[in-house]
């Protein structure tokens, strides 16, 4: 059943992405100031939002694990973090490409860039710690604690670096600005691509969760064999 859902989500994501790519590259015009490179925003912003949603979903799943003790919440949290880290890396890489073209540099220590990098570092630590613990219950408890600390820290990091320095372009989506900063057709495409990336993330999480469950099964069989 889960595999069928994953395949369904992947097909829906692929179909929507194909439509979005057609619209982004062949229908929408170049932006007046930036030219063609502005199109990177259709991947950069949705990837950032998908990553952020993922971290807070992982926080919820970690709390669920700690309150219920069911290992499937932990497997799901680990899968969500892994997929979210990938989307955060996509966000950073696309942002760097845009910055190279528009600002002439690959990187600047702006608050959003720095916060995104800190997120990747915190949750890479989470993934590395998981690999260093063999016992599944201990791994789940410690990972859940780290995930909660990490998510809370992300909020403080965001605020502190915003006070420290800020030269990133301001928000563009009308839910943040009240409208007037972006053409409605372009904004619609950002939302369409966000849905496509969220569907893709959900499909990847389901595949990854299946792998986690298999790994747990193999691990318990190995323990059983060792005990025998």
């Amino acid at each position: 059943m889960r595999e069928k859902i994953a395949i369904g989500l992947a097909i829906a994501a692929a179909g929507l992405l194909a439509y979005d790519l057609y619209q982004i590259f062949l229908v929408l015009p170049d932006e007046a100031m930036q030219g063609a490179i502005y199109r990177i925003i259709f991947f950069h912003v949705p990837a950032a939002i998908t990553g952020m949603i993922g971290y807070f979903v992982a926080l919820t799943l970690s709390v669920l694990y700690l309150s219920s003790g069911k290992l499937r919440w932990d497997s799901l949290a680990a899968s969500v973090v892994e997929v979210s880290v990938i989307f955060s890396v996509v966000n950073i890489v696309t942002g760097s490409i845009w910055a190279r073209v528009i600002w002439g540099i690959w990187w600047t220590w702006d608050y959003r860039l720095t916060s995104a990098l800190v997120c990747v570092l915190i949750f890479s630590g989470y993934l590395m710690m998981r690999r260093a613990i063999d016992e599944p219950t201990q791994r789940a408890r410690l990972s859940s604690a780290l995930c909660i600390f990490g998510c809370v820290d992300v909020v403080i990091v965001w605020k502190s670096i915003e006070w420290f320095r800020n030269n990133h372009p301001g928000p563009v989506l009308s839910i943040r600005t009240g409208g007037g900063t972006i053409d409605p057709a372009m904004e619609r495409m950002i939302y369409f691509n966000l849905i496509a990336l969220l569907l893709m993330a959900a499909a990847l999480v389901l595949v990854r969760t299946r792998q986690e469950a298999t790994a747990r099964e193999i691990d318990s069989l190995r323990r059983l064999a060792n005990a025998a």
Binding site: L66, V118, L121, I122, S124, G125, M128, M129, A132, I133, Q138, R141, L142, S144, A145, L146, I148, F149, G150, V152, D153, I156, V157, K159, S160, I161, W163, F164
Partner: protein, 244 residues
């Protein structure tokens, strides 16, 4: 131990029980500091490391330049953060031989008190390292760090408490890991970034003759928020973090 409670209990307690928990935490801190005073393993290592790094930094830039004063806070807090990792690594690891950690967890001591006691011991040890480093730094780099002693002491205690709590929590989380010494810095440094930014900014301000009150308040508030949030999380998750 005073204020005996059920192991692992983390409910909101009435005042006398809270005082009991504080006493338990202080007992743990006293025990750790007594061991440290006998062996001096963490203090010697962290102190020597801090001074070696301060010496090495003199080869990185011109020590007589005005620029040194502008980056003094950054240099100091990087040294303290790195030295701190040496202290935190030992915090729970010293309880591993002879199953001392299991004995502590099986004792009537609450886990929150154990964690906070370790954080208090970390705080005391790091403050000693920081004080020695500050004197050495002032001599090596001609920094007048005594201009605002009260504010500087308050900022150092607030920032060091945040580092100590995070160090105690993740020292406990990683104590049984194969790669403990490697994992601890990988996990704690990204988490400490907001605290280190605030500590660096406020230290730079306090090294200047007339620091801005508004900026001190801004960064001071961030230090307090970090301390309160992470101490509360440590207390809430103590039973999850400290497992046999």
């Amino acid at each position: 131990m005073p204020g005996v409670q059920t192991p692992g209990s983390s409910h909101v307690r009435p005042l006398p029980a809270m005082i009991g928990s504080v006493r338990q935490a202080l007992s743990v801190a006293r025990k750790d500091l007594a061991i440290e005073l006998r062996t001096k393993e963490s203090l010697n290592a962290a102190g020597a490391f801090a001074i070696a790094i301060l010496l090495l930094l003199s080869f990185v830039f011109d020590v007589t330049s005005e620029e040194t004063r502008n980056i003094a806070g950054g240099l100091l807090w990087l040294v303290f953060a790195f030295a701190g990792a040496l202290v935190f690594n030992r915090g729970f690891a010293r309880e591993l031989p002879n199953e001392c950690l299991d004995a502590l967890l099986a004792s009537p001591l609450s886990r929150a008190s154990l964690l906070i006691g370790k954080a208090i011991a970390n705080l005391a040890m790091l403050l000693v390292v920081e004080f020695v480093s500050l004197i050495v730094f002032g001599i090596f780099y001609d920094i007048r760090w005594w201009l605002h002693p009260g504010e500087l002491a308050a900022a150092f205690v607030l920032a060091t408490w945040g580092i100590s709590v995070v160090g105690a929590v993740f020292g406990a989380l990683t104590v049984n890991l194969r790669l403990r010494e490697l994992m601890l810095p990988v996990i704690i440094y990204p988490l400490l970034i907001p605290l280190l930014i605030a500590a660096i900014e406020i230290t730079n301000l306090l090294f200047s003759a007339q620091p801005s009150q508004a900026d001190q308040l801004l960064w001071g508030r961030l230090l307090i928020v970090f301390d309160v949030v992470f101490t509360a999380l440590a207390l809430l998750l103590a039973d999850t973090i400290l497992i046999t």
